[in-house]
Structure formats: structure tokens, C-alpha cells
């Protein structure tokens, strides 16, 4: 079997990154924005693991594990903050979070 060349992984990562960035910039639902951010983090993970394999060392994979942990912590903090917000404002729409003017 032919190994998948690292550039393909980078293309995949770049694609995910782009989808994530567009998601953050265009979607208005806070949960979807959060998911888009997680998508970027996964793009990072794909890149890291691909590069790690390319260099034949484990540094990148260890880094990816840290990123996964961080993504989980971030999701937990984000959802916690969202629940606190929802209790007071009854909305998850970023456009309606407008008490402080942008």
C-alpha cells in the first residue's frame, strides 16, 4: 500500500481550517461557532500528526494529545458559560447577545 503523502493531510487540514474559520465568521448560533472552533483545532491535530509521521518522531503526536485535552477543557468552559448566559437571557444567538455594544 502506498503511504498517504503528508501534503494530502495538509490539504485536508487546510480545508477543515477554512470551513472552521468560515463557520466562526458567518454562523450566529454560539454552539455552532464553538463547533467551528473545534474544527480548527482538529485541523491542527491532523497537521500535527501528519508532520509527526513525516519526521518519524512522536513530538507532534504528543502535541496533538495536548490539543485534544485543551479542546475538551475549552468546550466545557464554553458550554458552562453558555448555560450561565442562557439562564439569564434565554438565547444562544450571538446577534442577541448585544447588551454591550460591539
Amino acid at each position: 500500500m502506498m503511504p498517504i503523502p503528508p501534503t494530502w493531510c495538509v490539504y485536508l487540514g487546510t480545508g477543515l481550517f477554512t470551513i472552521g474559520v468560515i463557520g466562526v465568521l458567518t454562523r450566529r448560533n454560539v454552539i455552532i461557532i464553538l463547533m467551528s472552533i473545534e474544527l480548527i483545532l482538529n485541523a491542527v491535530n491532523i497537521n500535527l500528526v501528519a508532520f509527526s509521521r513525516y519526521f518519524g518522531e512522536v513530538d507532534g503526536q504528543i502535541f496533538a494529545i495536548f490539543v485534544i485535552t485543551d479542546a475538551a477543557a475549552e468546550a466545557a468552559v464554553g458550554l458552562g458559560l453558555l448555560i450561565a448566559l442562557f439562564r439569564n437571557k434565554e438565547t444562544v444567538n450571538a446577534d442577541e447577545i448585544d447588551l454591550l455594544k460591539w
Binding site: V24, I33, L34, I37, A50, F66, V77, L81, A94, L100
Partner: protein, 486 residues
């Protein structure tokens, strides 16, 4: 097989002590009855003091630790001391605030400590993985702190915006790191600088990766055009938290910027320098002119915080242009001086804003000079220092930055900076004029300052005048600290 040696551990002793105390405070929180949470505040403060003393216990042992991922050098010591000071001041200013507003949960103290640990690791890391972890430890704690007034929609909103934009920025930073790793095969800053110094190693992709990392950090230090979150977050967050996050995480992000960009200034050529130049000019101008229009004190100081980030960037641009230590030491001096005046101002505003932080409009401060002369005088000193009036810390902070940028030949940037500081005098003095010259009954709270807050304000005032009247000692210290190891 690598193992951990005793000197390695000694080099991160302050961080270890802080983390230990943070975990202790968190563990004790459910066991301490509601009326006694104050004790945990003092324990947290003790943790900060013990961490500070760890430097004096441990023999001076500058050097790299943990196979090159931690750089215990003068640079990191300077910033760790700065973060500990900021944390101590914020803790002192928070205890009575939390009691007053019925949000006295000891998680607050634990989060301040955790955030400080993260900031220390940001300043002390010579490894992109560690910098990222420090950034996240500090950011995640501050996201929660910004939303600490759980039942106040403004605070919720502030936390949500900070969280969304902050984690978006971190994602950019990470993506940049992933590319740097892919292009060079290393995440260690020393190896990285060596690798990129080789001819032919510098490519468009490397540049793109560095720009992604810069964008991530630029969000954290709120430079234009990545400043949109700052006013909302600073206004909505509890004022003592704003005091903390407008100084600590910002200084930490600048520490990372200095470490990364000065290390790579040689190989990166003029491109990185111009990025810094342009964002410095934009940041100062946008921050100051937007601050002119504000009616809310916290929001005005938020825009002023943006402007001050611009002045620090001038110092960074000077350091990158000349390669001498003058620019970097001006950056360090500025960050420390700015920390004292901004922490002091926000802590005082937290007190004056009254229960529930209902009084934060500038008009609420009308006539405060007669009603509460002591508090008004302190606030005046903070405003004068922020605007850079001689004999205050703000003056020498600006002076050293401008001098460094003139010496580095950045005349244009210096002129923009000087003009900007002239503009800034208007809105700082506007608050002073409102307090003293306008007739009227102040809406702001006139209750006497509680003792912990009083000592925090007094310490800030002392530091402002000390740096403003005898700047030489501190300048020497920041010059000695301004050469990062790698």
C-alpha cells in the same frame, strides 16, 4: 532516558507553588462555610507571597530546564515577579468586592492563581507547546473570571465574547505552531531560530505561519484590527477581573511576542518589523480616538488599554529595528508601569461603582472631588499616570519607549506616538475635571475604602511615584532582564 532533575524543578518552583495553592484553595472551597470564604482569599494571597519568596530561597539558577522547554532567565523572572504582583493586587482588591456583590465563591481566588500559573509559563517557556499550554491555562481561567457575576447578563455576555474570540485566536495561534513544526521539525524556540537562520529556509509558508501566530497573540494583546472584543469584555467583566486581565494576560502575551519575534527578528527580515510598525500605529490611533467618545469609565479605560498596547508595540518595533536592548527594556518597563496604574484605576472604580457595579458612567463621578476627596485624589493620580504626566510612572514608561524608537531611527512612528499621547490627555483629564470642576451630587459610592483594597491602592500609588521619581533602578532591572536566553 530523560528524567527530572532537582535544578529543573527549582527553576519552575514559583509556578509549582502557585499551582499547589490554587488546587488547595479549590479543594477547600466546598468545605468552607459561606461566610468564611475570605480565609481562602488570604490563603491565595499567601500562595502568591510564598511563590515570590521561592526566588530568594532557591539559589540563583538561571538556565534551561526540562530539556530546553523552560528558560529560567532574567526575562522570565521579571515577568513572573510582575504577574505575582498583579495577582496579589487583584486578590487584595477583590475580597471586599466579592463580599459586597454577594458572589463570594473561593473559585475566584483559585482561578486567579491558575491564570497566574499560566501566565508564568507563557513568559518562561522556550517551547511552543509550553507557550500554548500556558496561554490556555491562563485564558480558560480568565474566561470564567470574566463571567463571574453569574446573574448579571453583562458579565455573561462579556465572558461569552471573550471566550469565543479568545479561543478563535488560540486556534489561529495553534495552526501557526502546527505549520512552524511542519516546516522546521521543531517547536523549540532555540532550535527554531537556528533552523530559520539557515539560508533558503525562509519561505512564504514560514511567513504565513508566523503571521498566524502573530494574529493569535495580537488578539490577546488587543491590537487593531483584533481589538473588537476588548471594550465589551472589559466593560462587562467584574472590575477587579478587568484590572487583572487588562494587565496580566496582556503582559504575558507581550512576553511571548518579545521572545518569539526578537529571536526571529534577524532571519525574518523587514517583513515582521513592518507588521509590528503598522499595528503599533493603528492600535494607538484607534484606541485613543475611540476613547475620546466614551461615556462609560470602564469602556474608556478599555480603549485606553488598546492605546497602551500600541505604545508597547512601538517599543517592540524599536527593539526589532535596532537589535539593541533599549527597545526591549522599554517594553518591560512600560508593561510594569502600566500594570500598576491600570490595576489601581480599575480596583478603585470597582469600589466607586457601588453594589452591582451600577455606577460606571463618567457622569456618575461628578463632584466626587468634594464628596470623597481621598478616592478622587487617587483616581486622579492614576489618570495622570495613564496620560503620562511627569513625576508619574506613565511618563518614564512613555519616555523610554519614545527614546528607544528615536534611537532606532523610527522617527515617523515616534511622532504618531507623541501626537497620540497628547490626544489621550483629553479623555483622562475629562474624568478628573468631572470629579473636581463639575457641580453636582456624585452617584458613585462614598463608602470608605476597605483595608485590603486600601493597601492595594496604596501599593500601586507607591509604585507609580517610585517609578516616576526614581526610574533608574527599575530601568536597570528591566535592561538586565531584557535579554531572553534563547
Amino acid at each position: 532516558m530523560t528524567t527530572v532533575s532537582i535544578p529543573d524543578v527549582m527553576r519552575i518552583l514559583p509556578e509549582l507553588i502557585l499551582a499547589g495553592f490554587a488546587i488547595l484553595v479549590m479543594l477547600f472551597e466546598p468545605f468552607v462555610p459561606a461566610g468564611r470564604k475570605r480565609v481562602l482569599g488570604w490563603i491565595a494571597l499567601l500562595g502568591v507571597l510564598v511563590a515570590g519568596m521561592a526566588f530568594t530561597w532557591a539559589p540563583p539558577n538561571a538556565g534551561m530546564a526540562f530539556s530546553g522547554s523552560i528558560a529560567a532567565d532574567g526575562f522570565s523572572y521579571f515577568f513572573i515577579f510582575l504577574f505575582l504582583t498583579i495577582a496579589a493586587l487583584a486578590l487584595l482588591g477583590s475580597i471586599n468586592y466579592l463580599e459586597r456583590d454577594n458572589i463570594h465563591h473561593a473559585e475566584y481566588y483559585a482561578l486567579i492563581l491558575f491564570s497566574t500559573v499560566g501566565m508564568c509559563f507563557m513568559a518562561a517557556s522556550a517551547e511552543l507547546i509550553m507557550i500554548f499550554l500556558g496561554l490556555e491555562i491562563s485564558s480558560l481561567s480568565t474566561y470564567v473570571l470574566a463571567g463571574f457575576r453569574r446573574h448579571d447578563p453583562r458579565s455573561n455576555e462579556s465572558a461569552m465574547k471573550y471566550f469565543l474570540l479568545g479561543s478563535f485566536a488560540t486556534a489561529f495561534f495553534l495552526y501557526g505552531i502546527a505549520f512552524v513544526y511542519g516546516l522546521t521539525g521543531t517547536t523549540n524556540l532555540v532550535d527554531l531560530a537556528a533552523d530559520l537562520a539557515q539560508p533558503g529556509k525562509w519561505s512564504t509558508l514560514t511567513r504565513a505561519a508566523l503571521i498566524l501566530m502573530f494574529v493569535g497573540l495580537a488578539f490577546k494583546v488587543s491590537t487593531v484590527p483584533f481589538q473588537i472584543w476588548t471594550p465589551d469584555v472589559y466593560q462587562g467583566a467584574p472590575a477587579p477581573v478587568t484590572a487583572f486581565l487588562s494587565t496580566g494576560p496582556k503582559a504575558a502575551a507581550f512576553a511571548v511576542l518579545v521572545r518569539i519575534f526578537l529571536g526571529l527578528a534577524g532571519p525574518s527580515g523587514p517583513a515582521a518589523f513592518w507588521v509590528i510598525w503598522i499595528s503599533a500605529a493603528l492600535t494607538m490611533t484607534v484606541g485613543n480616538f475611540a476613547a475620546l467618545l466614551q461615556k462609560n469609565v470602564k469602556r474608556m479605560l478599555a480603549y485606553s488599554a488598546i492605546a497602551h498596547a500600541g505604545y508597547v508595540l512601538v517599543g517592540l518595533a524599536a527593539a526589532m529595528a535596532s537589535g539593541s536592548t533599549e527597545g526591549a527594556s522599554a517594553v518591560l518597563f512600560y508593561l510594569a508601569a502600566y500594570a500598576f496604574m491600570n490595576v489601581g484605576a480599575f480596583l478603585l472604580i470597582a469600589h466607586l461603582a457601588g453594589p452591582g457595579e451600577g455606577r460606571t458612567e463618567i457622569s456618575d463621578f461628578t463632584g466626587l472631588g468634594r464628596a470623597a476627596p481621598g478616592a478622587a485624589a487617587c483616581l486622579t493620580v492614576f489618570m495622570l499616570s495613564l496620560s503620562g504626566i511627569p513625576s508619574t510612572a506613565g511618563f518614564f514608561a512613555k519616555f523610554y519607549v519614545f527614546r528607544a524608537s528615536v534611537h532606532a531611527g523610527l522617527i515617523g512612528l515616534t511622532i504618531i506616538a507623541v501626537l497620540n499621547s497628547v490626544v489621550s490627555v483629553y479623555y483622562y483629564l475629562n474624568l478628573v475635571v468631572t470629579m473636581y470642576m463639575r457641580e453636582g451630587e456624585p452617584q458613585a459610592a462614598r463608602t470608605p475604602m476597605p483595608l485590603p483594597l486600601y493597601s492595594a491602592i496604596a501599593a500601586s500609588l507607591f509604585a507609580i511615584f517610585y517609578l516616576g521619581l526614581y526610574p533608574n533602578h527599575f530601568l536597570l532591572l528591566s535592561t538586565l532582564s531584557s535579554k531572553p536566553l534563547p
